[in-house]
């Protein structure tokens, strides 16, 4: 089988499966901080994987020959990744947010997860970062409060990410023109 024939055959099988399921295949990237944040992203990746969604955790899935911090922006711009979930739990992740939200090829795919005390709707904070969240919220509508604990009844990232990814792929399958790229 030639390369072109194989590509067409794989694509046809994927489309038939998607049509039957009314769900699109999806590739999502899970970005955030290390430590507890990394454990949580691994747990989310496991949940998404069990739903047939490809979920990448760069620290685990990218070869160490290439540093994730060097390649992420180029990857997010040029690859077929559908959604980028960025949990902002550190200054490093906040820096990435600033970088990605100002890139028009990445920003529409970006789903930003922040603690309620930094979310512009849930908190009176007037920090520069909260102001950036507000700008992203108004332009793209995808800044979500997560992990509020008892004080703020908002979902955990582990509950929220699969819910958003699942709906995204239903829309992608049924009304692909409604997906902003």
């Amino acid at each position: 089988m030639t390369g072109g024939t194989a590509v067409r055959r794989v694509h046809a099988i994927r489309k038939e499966t998607e049509d039957r399921l009314n769900r699109s295949g999806l590739v999502v990237m899970l970005l955030g901080s290390s430590g507890r944040g990394l454990d949580e992203r691994r747990a989310v990746a496991h949940v998404l994987g069990s739903r047939g969604i490809i979920a990448l955790v760069p620290e685990d899935d990218f070869p160490p020959e290439v540093g994730p911090s060097v390649i992420e922006e180029e990857i997010l711009e040029r690859s077929d990744v559908d959604l980028v979930f960025l949990s902002i739990e550190s200054w490093g992740a906040a820096t990435e947010f600033g970088q990605f939200s100002s890139n028009p090829r990445i920003a529409p795919k970006l789903r930003v997860l922040v603690r309620p005390e930094y979310h512009p709707v849930h908190s009176p904070s007037r920090s520069y970062l909260s102001d950036l969240y507000l700008t992203h919220l108004v332009r793209y509508g995808h800044v979500y409060p997560v992990d509020g604990g008892r004080q703020a009844p908002v979902p955990s990232a582990k509950a929220l990410i699969p819910m958003l990814a699942e709906r995204h792929r239903e829309i992608k399958a049924l009304r692909p023109s409604n997906i902003t790229k």
């Binding site: 194989a6 039957r20 399921l21 739903r51 047939g52 990218f62 020959e65 290439v66 390649i71 990744v81």
Partner: protein, 122 residues
């Protein structure tokens, strides 16, 4: 509009296949997949040479193949750290389905998969 079934109600094997075919539905990843089948244990830098794309973008594509459960990764040290790839069990199965034994492959296997999907939907 037709009501969607819950993902939890779908046969997990079908969801695995959707994940696998989503991963392979890209010419670069499919090429890397075939290279790895032909040369088990192929290092990352050799794949980069063969497919001729920037290592950053290739790292993404290899990550997709890994996250889809199609390839296994081993880390070896040869002066520097080297990441080597081989097909996992799911990858081997899919490779056989796609490329091996053209006379028996294909429509019958694909039909059986889709019949299972349809059975879950109706």
């Amino acid at each position: 509009m037709k009501k969607l079934s819950e993902t939890e109600d779908i046969d997990p094997r079908i969801l695995d296949r959707l994940r696998a075919y989503t991963a392979l539905d890209n010419p670069i990843r499919l090429r890397a997949f075939r290279l790895i089948h032909d040369s088990p244990g192929l290092p990352f830098h050799e794949i980069a040479k063969a497919v001729r794309i920037e290592s950053g973008l290739l790292a993404y594509h290899m990550g997709v193949l890994r996250a889809a459960g199609l390839v296994d990764v081993a880390y070896e040290r040869d002066g520097r750290q080297v990441t080597a790839y081989r097909l996992g069990a799911t990858g081997q199965e899919l490779f056989s389905e796609l490329f091996a034994n053209p006379s028996s492959r294909s429509s019958s296997r694909r039909a059986s998969v889709l019949q299972r999907v349809a059975a879950r939907q109706h």
